[in-house]
Subunit: 467 residues, 2 copies
C-alpha cells in the first residue's frame, strides 16, 4: 500500500521504541507560553529541539531570541534544483487548567489505548516531533534529504505569535522558499485523512467594566448604582442575538458568501452529528441560524466568551456589588474579514451598548487573519498523494475553525503559499484536559512526511530535467 | 448636653484606653464565617465574648453549639418590674477579598484619623463591643443593671444565620423578653444620628450553567455549540431590563407601594447625591426608573450579581469555550415580598430564559424576610431620646437597604418587636476593603446605650408605680 522507500521504512520500524521515548521526553517539558512562570520551560523546549535538529543532520540549528519566547531555526539546503520548503510547527502549549479534570499529570505523558496522553501530544509538540523524526529517518538512511528544508519552530503560537512577525521580517534573507508546510491541523471525524483548505482568523479581546474603586455592600447600595457584573452581562448579551448572529454593526460586511459548490462539498462529508455531540458531551448543537454545523464551525465567523470573572467566587455568600468585572471575548473570522477593522467596530459597539453608570474599555490581546490554501499547488497535490499512499485512502478536503496566525503571516508577510497537512485526530482534546494523539497517526504520519519530501524532490528533479 | 449618669460617665472616661485596646484585640480574631478554614477563629471570638460577659457581671455566659458556628448567650435578670431586652449582635465578619485593596492587613486593626480600621470594626464586632463595654460601665459603677438583659451574639450573620432559627426555637424558654435591640445599622450621611425603621430582606442564589464536561477549543467548536458563559450573560441580562426593573414574572406582585407621606419624608432627608457619589467613587447613579436614590436603595427591591466566573481568567489568551459558568445573584426584597415564593419564580424564570444547548440550575444559598420596626414602641421612643441626649440632636428616621435576617427571625419567630439602633458611620466600607468605624461614634454610642438602659428602666418603674 505504501510507496515509501523501503530503507526508510525499515529504519522507522527499528527505531519505534526510542522514538516514542523521545516524544514523551519532549512532552514532559511544560512549555506553556501564556504563563510567565513557565518561560524557562519554554526556552528549555526550544533548546531541546535545536540540539536534536543539529544532532540528526540539520545545519545552522539555533535558538533565536525574540522579545518573548525564542524561535528555533535550522536548515539543510544541499538539494540544488529541488524545491525549498519551510516546515513550521510550534513547541509551546496551552495552559492546563482546569487541572482537576486531567486523569493524570498533564506533563507526565503516557500511552493508553493506542494514544499518547499529555499536554501538547497533538497540539503541536507531537507533530513537531513527527517532522523531526521523519527528517532523521531520511538523514540516517541516505545522509541527505531529497529537497531543501528550513525549519521554523515557534514558542508563542498559543499566545498569538506576538514576536513572530518581527522575527520573520528580521530573517527574511534566510527564509527564501517555494512553499510552507504546516502540520498543526488534523483529520476529519472518524480519523479520516484530510487536507485543510481554510483556517479562520481570530480577534481576541478583553472587556473591562469598572464601577467603583471598592466593592460596595449590595444591601446598602443595591438599586443606587449600576453593577459592573450586571453591565458586563448586558454587554455580552448585546454582542450576539438569539439566532447566533453577531450584533456588532458591520461585522458581516466583508464576509465572502458561501457558494453552492462549497456548501455541497461540506454537505457530502460523512459528518455524524449524534456521534460528534456524544464525543464532546454537548446538548443540542447551536449556532447561527441558516447554516449547517460544518458551515458554522469552518466557514462562518462567530463570537465566544473564553472566560469571565468579577466579584465573589468563593463558597457561600458575599453580599457585594463588585467594583469591576471582566471578560475575554474572541471572534473567529473568515475571508475576507480584516481583524483591525473589526476590532474598531467591536470596540465602538461595546462602548455603545455599555449601560450608563459604569465604564467599559476593550483591550486587543491578539489577532490573526483568515487563511485559504491553494489546493491546486504542486505541494498540496503531492501532500494528498503522500497521504493516500501511506494511510490508504485519498484525503478529504476540510477546513478548520481554529486559527494559526503564523499561516496568515507566511501568506501575507512573506508571500508564500501554505499547505496545511496535519495529523491530529479529531477527538484529541486540544486546549482541554486529557489532550491526546493517536499513536498510529503519529507513526504513519511520519511516513507520510518522508513520502511527501520524496515526491516533492522527484517532481522538482523531473521539472528540472524537463526544462 | 448629656443626661447620662455622672458616675458611669466618669468610669467611661477613665477606661477609654483599655477599652480601645480590648476592641482592637477582639478585631484581631479573623472570625470569617463564610470560610471553612476560619471556623476555629469564629469559635475563638465566641469564647472571647463569653469570657468577657462573665467577667463583667453577666450570668449564664455560654458558648452554645449549633450545627455550624456557635451562639454566645448570657443574661442578667435581677431587675424585677423593669423590662427585659434581648441585645443582638454578630461577632462574625465578611471575607476580606480583594485583599490587595486593603491599605493594611484586615486583621491588624489600627487607629488613623479618628477611625479604627480593620475588618469588623463597624460590621458588627465594633457594635458588639460597645454593648459589652456599656454593660460593664453600669455593672462597675452600680453592681447592677437598670433593666433585664439577655445577650445573643451570633457567629453566622454574614453567612445568612443558617443555625439561628433552630437555636432560637430550642432556647425559646430562655428568650422571654419585651423587645429586641439590634445594633447592626448606622447613621445617615453626614454621620447624622438615625434610627432605622425598615430593613430589606434578601434572596441569595447561585446560577450554574453547564455545557460540556470539558472546555472546548473555541476555534474548532466556535459556532457549533452554545457557550455557557455567553448563555450565563444572556440569562443575567434577562433578569433586569434597561430601566432597572426586575423581569422575573410576578416579582413585584406583593410589594407594598410607597405612600406619599413616606416619599415626602425620604425627600426631606439631607441627601447629597454628589457627595454620596464621590464617597464611593461612582459614576452617575442608576436604578429603577421613577424612584429617587433613597427610595431605590431602601424601599424598592432590586437584583445584583455578587460575583461571576467561568473559563480562563489568567493573563494572556486561552482559546476555549468554557465547559461551565456561574454567577451569584442576590435580590433585596421589601415588605411584603416572600423570599420562598420569589425563589420559585426566580428559578422558573432562569430556566425559561436559559438558551437551548446548555443547562442552567439555580441553588438557594440563603434568604431573609424584610423587616419593619414599630417606631411608636416605648423602646423606639427611648432610643430616640437617648440618641438625642448623647449625640446632641434628634435622630432622623431612615431605612436600610441591607438585610439582618435575624431581625426577621425575632419578629416572625419569637413575635418580638425589634428596635434598630446602630452607630456605624455611613462611609464605613462595610463588606469592602478598609472597613472602619469612627471612634467618636463608638465612644458616644456606648453612652447612648447606657442612657437607653436607664431610660427603659425608669419608664418601666414609673409604669409599675402608676399601675
Amino acid at each position: 500500500m505504501t510507496a515509501i522507500d523501503p530503507a526508510v521504512q525499515a529504519h522507522l520500524d527499528e527505531t519505534r521504541e526510542a522514538r516514542l521515548e523521545s516524544w514523551l521526553e519532549f512532552l514532559r517539558i511544560p512549555s506553556i507560553s501564556a504563563l510567565p512562570e513557565n518561560a524557562g520551560d519554554v526556552r528549555r523546549a526550544a533548546t531541546w529541539l535545536a540540539v536534536e535538529l543539529g544532532r540528526i543532520g540539520f545545519e545552522h540549528a539555533e535558538v533565536c531570541d525574540t522579545p518573548w519566547h525564542p524561535v528555533v531555526y535550522a536548515d539543510w539546503l544541499h538539494a540544488p534544483g529541488a524545491p525549498t520548503v519551510i516546515v513550521y510547527g510550534h513547541y509551546d502549549v496551552q495552559p492546563v487548567d482546569p487541572i482537576e479534570l486531567w486523569t493524570t499529570a498533564p506533563f507526565k505523558p503516557f500511552v493508553r489505548d493506542g494514544r499518547v496522553i499529555g499536554r501538547g501530544a497533538a497540539d503541536d509538540k507531537g507533530q513537531v516531533h513527527m517532522h523531526l523524526r521523519a527528517a532523521e529517518a531520511l538523514f540516517a538512511t541516505r545522509g541527505r534529504l531529497p529537497l531543501n528544508l528550513r525549519i521554523v519552530f515557534e514558542g508563542e503560537e498559543e499566545s498569538t505569535s506576538a514576536s513572530l512577525p518581527g522575527w520573520l521580517e528580521a530573517n527574511r534573507a534566510r527564509l527564501g522558499a517555494d512553499v510552507v508546510v504546516i502540520s498543526d491541523t488534523g483529520f476529519f471525524e472518524g480519523n479520516l485523512p484530510a487536507l485543510t483548505e481554510a483556517l479562520r482568523g481570530i480577534l481576541y479581546t478583553q472587556i473591562d467594566v469598572v464601577g467603583t474603586p471598592l466593592d460596595l455592600h449590595s444591601g446598602s447600595f443595591g438599586g443606587a448604582v449600576e453593577n459592573p457584573a450586571n453591565a458586563l452581562a448586558r454587554i455580552i448579551a448585546d454582542l450576539k442575538d438569539r439566532d447566533g448572529r453577531v450584533l456588532v454593526p458591520g461585522f458581516y460586511d466583508d464576509v465572502l458568501p458561501l457558494d453552492d459548490a462549497a456548501r455541497r462539498r461540506l454537505a457530502a462529508l460523512p459528518f455524524d452529528e449524534p456521534v460528534y455531540r456524544a464525543s464532546i458531551g454537548a446538548g443540542p448543537l447551536q449556532g447561527e441560524v441558516g447554516y449547517s454545523v460544518l458551515e458554522r464551525k469552518w466557514m462562518r465567523p462567530t463570537l465566544d466568551v473564553n472566560g469571565l470573572w468579577g466579584g465573589f467566587q468563593g463558597a457561600g455568600e458575599k453580599t457585594i456589588i463588585p467594583g469591576h468585572a471582566h471578560a475575554k471575548v474572541s471572534m473567529r473570522i473568515v475571508a475576507n474579514q480584516d481583524p483591525e477593522v473589526l476590532f474598531e467596530r467591536f470596540r465602538a459597539h461595546v462602548t455603545e451598548v455599555c449601560p450608563p453608570g459604569v465604564t467599559a474599555t476593550v483591550q486587543l490581546l491578539g489577532s490573526g487573519r483568515p487563511v485559504r490554501t491553494p489546493m491546486d499547488h504542486p505541494a498540496a497535490i503531492a501532500a494528498a498523494r503522500a497521504l493516500e499512499e501511506t494511510f490508504g485512502r485519498a484525503p478529504v478536503t476540510i477546513a478548520s475553525g481554529g486559527s494559526i496566525p503564523v499561516a496568515e503571516m507566511f501568506e501575507h508577510q512573506l508571500g508564500l503559499p501554505v499547505v496545511l497537512m496535519g495529523f491530529a485526530n479529531p477527538d484529541d482534546n486540544a486546549h482541554a484536559p486529557n489532550e491526546s494523539m493517536v499513536l498510529a497517526n503519529y507513526e504513519t504520519g511520519i511516513r507520510t512526511i518522508c513520502r511527501l519530501w520524496d515526491l516533492l524532490g522527484e517532481t522538482a528533479e523531473t521539472t528540472s530535467r524537463g526544462t
